[in-house]
């Protein structure tokens, strides 16, 4: 049962700024704290169900294993496309991309070829911590929550968040974070120079994140505490092969990072009160990457895409006559007349172009292997007021094929430095409660808010 704050404080909250309110609220800490039936969410970005299962069983993640044994552990579907910006937007809002309006890390506003990078301000539906009656929240490192906005609580945004000042609410927390040497994310450019340097930075980032969680856990009088670890995803991108290959130089480093995460899970579980709920989840899974597929190169090769300059500097180089273009990872947009500056497809021809594309894409093979598992039209995937802004087609690849839609590729397929790629079906969900009816039969990322509400309602 949720304990409402006293009426006096609700009135004060309406009247005064959050900063003032926060200090008042602290004064009423004893009254405010419900100290039971709180909700703790731990996110492990990119961690697949089968990896958590393996590591729990093999003893690398014993604390997680204990929770699995006494709770509910399930596979979960990610969003389509299976990338953090879309998946986490669905997780925190409980809505699908047609409703929250986020279809990828990049977007092209109508009437332009400007490649924009949407952020938290562009999410059209409210995150759960802004829902009425959910109480004070501490939100740490949830991807796509930059720039930080005011809330009843504390928020430190996660990737993409390049400026800690604008990533933090309230701003009074910034000196403390600087003191901890807090950094939002591991500097991924380090991995291109040296994996040792990357692992060192990964560890540094993790330790600072742990310090921030400990501080805010004690300092804040929260009802919901959400902590996301994103280093797991970076680790998997660069060293998934090290996980699969026990003889790999960095195999133990990979396991060690997950072991440290498990220690935090154990610590959090031990600090929870009776009646508190713990929800551990990931936003998508991972698998071994075998080949990168460059979608815009394919579209150019097949005559669907034309640029004014070769190589193109940006999407702004799209030429008259281009029928379609792609944004990462594999979102295809029809270059529709009236929608884009050099739109060349008349609305009445759109269906024919989409059909041509489907036929062409379906035939794509690399070394005899069919590349595309499924071509989704937007109407199959999304619903809501922002459906019109969705990509016309989204590609799902067969195992091992990793789609990229940069403009610099000079070949159809290749291998980059990344050994791991996202997978769509293999995210996970773990709850420290044994009531199976809390979770739908085939859960997906947009079910999380509903699950949280059920957990809050459970006595």
């Amino acid at each position: 049962m949720y304990h409402h704050p006293p009426l006096l404080l609700l009135l004060l909250r309406q009247r005064y700024s959050s900063e003032v309110f926060r200090s008042l609220e602290k004064g009423f800490g004893v009254i405010m704290a419900s100290n039971s039936n709180r909700l703790v969410i731990i996110g492990l970005d990119g961690m697949p169900y089968h990896l958590i299962k393996d590591l729990a069983e093999s003893g690398v993640m014993p604390n997680t294993r204990a929770i699995i044994e006494n709770g509910v552990f399930s596979q979960m579907e990610s969003s389509i496309p299976e990338i953090s910006s879309v998946a986490w937007s669905s997780i925190i809002t409980g809505t699908n991309p047609g409703q929250h309006g986020i279809f990828g890390f990049t977007d092209v506003p109508d009437g332009t070829y400007r490649l924009s990078f949407p952020n938290f301000s562009d999410i059209k539906t409210l995150p759960f911590w802004n829902h009425e009656g959910n109480g004070r929240a501490v939100i740490i490192n949830v991807p796509f929550t930059y720039p930080a906005r005011s809330l009843d609580g504390v928020l430190i945004a996660g990737f993409v968040a390049l400026d800690l000042k604008r990533a933090t609410y309230p701003s009074s927390l910034i000196p403390k974070l600087n003191e901890m040497d807090y950094q939002i994310d591991v500097d991924s450019s380090k991995a291109h120079r040296s994996l040792d340097l990357f692992l060192k930075d990964l560890d540094k980032t993790l330790q600072a994140r742990i310090a921030a969680y400990r501080y805010l856990w004690d300092e804040e009088n929260w009802q919901t505490f959400m902590l996301v670890f994103t280093g797991t995803d970076r680790l998997a991108h660069f060293l998934w092969d090290a996980y699969e290959d026990e003889s790999h130089r960095y195999h133990s480093a990979f396991l060690d990072h997950l072991h440290q995460i498990d220690n935090v899970i154990g610590e959090v579980a031990s600090r929870m009160n009776t009646g508190d709920s713990l929800l551990i989840l990931s936003d998508h899974g991972f698998e071994l990457s075998q080949s990168d597929i460059y979608v815009n190169f394919f579209l150019t090769q097949e005559g669907f895409l034309k640029f004014r300059d070769t190589p193109p500097k940006s999407l702004a180089d799209i030429d008259q006559g281009a029928k379609a273009f792609a944004l990462d990872p594999a979102r295809i947009y029809i270059n529709l007349e009236g929608k884009y500056p050099r739109g060349s497809v008349k609305p009445e021809d759109k269906e024919a172009i989409i059909s041509d594309l489907e036929t062409c894409l379906n035939s794509l093979e690399i070394d005899g292997s069919k590349v595309i598992k499924r071509i989704c039209r937007k109407e199959e995937l999304y619903h809501g007021p922002y459906l019109g802004h969705a990509p016309d087609l989204v590609l799902l690849g067969n195992k091992g094929f990793d789609f990229k839609s940069g403009l610099k590729a000079t070949k159809l397929a290749g291998r980059g430095v990344f050994t791991g790629k996202h997978s769509q079906k293999d995210a996970f969900l773990l709850i420290n409660k044994s009531s199976p009816d809390i979770i739908p039969e085939s859960p997906s990322v947009s079910d999380i808010v509903g699950i949280m509400n059920k957990l809050r309602g459970e006595t």
Partner: protein, 516 residues
């Protein structure tokens, strides 16, 4: 979209520049969405896959755009860039001019102010002091700075934000001012621009090199710390190249892509390498040292700069300085600070035989004051990309000294009925009197749309118009003893002697001859 935003019938030279060039952009970081990775190291040059990472930018003027790829908005499309005769210009662009009180600095301040730029400037009035130290003065009288600023406001409606600062000795003050203004372009005229002055003695040589080289070095550090996105338009000189006797072309700072070095049956591409410099005085050496410092700063810190190898400047006229006597820019004719055409015109006005050094066959590149202003404006409107160091040879033509003397004599005689005599005097410099000269100066016309507007004869005419005015003629008379050089590169102290007096040049006055 702005389909008609063009320069005349031509597309503006900077129409296709993007936010990548724009100083109003904040390059926030680098994001690699393929690996969900971010980095604050915007400009780390990585190989391979990393090149697929996106640079993430924010517009300081249009924050509503959020984060975006800076390559995807052109100046032509951006409402913050307005169409002008010189290409798209950032609205109310904030420009700091270092050396605002000088011959070029003051002229450019009024020129940019009239185009709508927010002009700020710095000077410590040292040019006035150096000229005074030599016992000379500007023959075109100039006002004190307070009066100049007042007149600019009163006559042209231009507000200039001026601060008296020595950029070498008062680096903290300069930092404060730059932090306050947050310039989107910095024009660096704030150096001692004088070869003979640097050759007077050891004190003058060390002063010029310290002032120029260290002042500029300090500026580069300040830009790194405060305004790395601002473009630096730095004044160099064609004199950095010298006049190599090999006759190789004087490329624009760097060898072109197809230049090849052959040696010992082997060959190497020289494309993109800095060309050799052969400076012709300790002043010119300071400019060469600047070139390397600016080049390195662009390489280390991704600053962006155009190094302007300006030909010998001449002239007195722009629409702004000619508006009011209080707005005039200085004009020096003494042996130290006077440039050749300016000095020849002054000599003609008072009947002082024009003085060619040695054979008079030295060839130099030249540019008129108004054309120089046009070039600087075009460079400001077309900022370099982050990390880009580029060089332009800023000149509109090249002539021998002999040709110049005869042109001045012809215009003075024909249009002003002033007979002119030319003399050859000893050459106090160490230079070749006769040499090959093949300057390359294509970038400004080809890439920046520069079209020279003022011919040599036109500007000489305009100078004679001004310098024949009695009060100015009187000021020339007062300092005519400072025209013949006494500063020898060898170090000897004596006035040069006349080698030969050439014929008097006298034309029939033209029907449209000037009548003061």
């Amino acid at each position: 979209m702005t389909g008609n935003r063009q320069e005349g019938n031509m597309r503006a030279h900077n129409a296709q520049c993007t936010c990548w060039n724009c100083p109003a952009i904040d390059l926030t970081g680098k994001v690699d969405f393929r690996a969900c990775g971010q980095s604050r190291e915007v400009f780390t040059q990585e190989q391979g896959d990393e090149s697929e990472a996106y640079i993430v930018a924010e517009c300081k003027r249009r924050p509503e755009l959020g984060l975006f790829d800076p390559m995807t908005i052109t100046f032509e499309e951006c409402p913050e860039w307005k169409s002008t005769h010189y290409g798209y210009l950032l609205k109310n662009m904030r420009v700091i001019i270092l050396g605002l009180d000088g011959y070029l600095g003051w002229t450019l301040a009024l020129w940019l102010g009239s185009l709508g730029c927010e002009v700020s400037g710095v000077d410590n009035f040292s040019r006035r002091d150096w000229v005074k130290e030599r016992g000379a003065h500007t023959v075109v009288p100039i006002s004190r700075m307070t009066e100049r600023l007042h007149a600019a406001k009163e006559v042209l409606g231009i507000n200039i934000n001026f601060r008296q600062i020595d950029i070498l000795k008062e680096r903290d003050k300069l930092r404060e001012f730059i932090e306050e203004v947050k310039p989107e372009a910095i024009v660096h005229y704030g150096e001692c621009p004088c070869a003979p002055y640097s050759m007077i003695d050891v004190d003058h040589a060390t002063f010029v090199q310290q002032n120029n080289v260290l002042g500029t070095l300090g500026l580069l550090f300040t830009m790194r710390d405060l305004v790395p996105e601002s473009s630096l338009i730095k004044l160099g000189t064609m004199g950095e190249y010298g006049t190599p006797l090999t006759g190789r072309p004087l490329f624009e700072g760097m060898f072109p892509a197809n230049a090849v070095l052959h040696w010992d049956d082997r060959e190497w591409s020289l494309g993109g390498e800095l060309t050799p410099r052969d400076p012709v005085s300790f002043y010119h050496v300071s400019k060469v040292q600047d070139t390397y410092n600016v080049y390195e700063a662009c390489k280390y810190w991704w600053l962006r700069s155009y190094d302007v190898m300006q030909g010998v400047i001449y002239g007195v006229n722009t629409p702004q300085v000619a508006t009011d006597p209080r707005l005039r820019t200085r004009l020096d004719i003494d042996e130290w600070f006077g440039t050749v055409i300016n000095r020849f015109v002054a000599q003609a006005v008072i009947g002082f035989p024009l003085t060619m050094y040695g054979a008079g066959e030295q060839i130099r590149g030249f540019i008129g004051l108004e054309d120089a202003m046009q070039c600087m404006t075009r460079l400001i409107t077309h900022p370099p990309e982050p990390g880009q160091y580029d060089v332009v040879n800023q000149m509109s033509g090249f002539y021998s000294v002999n040709h110049l003397a005869h042109t001045v004599a012809k215009v003075a005689s024909k249009e002003f009925a002033i007979p002119v005599t030319i003399q050859r005097v000893e050459n106090p410099r160490v230079e070749s009197d006769i040499h090959p000269f093949e300057p390359i100066y294509n970038k400004l016309p080809d890439q920046f749309g520069f079209k020279p507007k003022v011919t040599l004869e036109d500007e000489i005419y305009r100078m004679l118009e001004l310098l024949t005015q009695p009060h100015i003629k009187q000021r020339i008379e007062e300092k005519k003893h400072l025209i013949l050089p006494r500063t020898w590169w060898s170090g000897i102290k004596k006035q040069v002697e006349t080698l030969e007096i050439l014929e008097e040049i006298k034309y029939e006055p033209s029907s449209t001859a000037y009548r003061p």
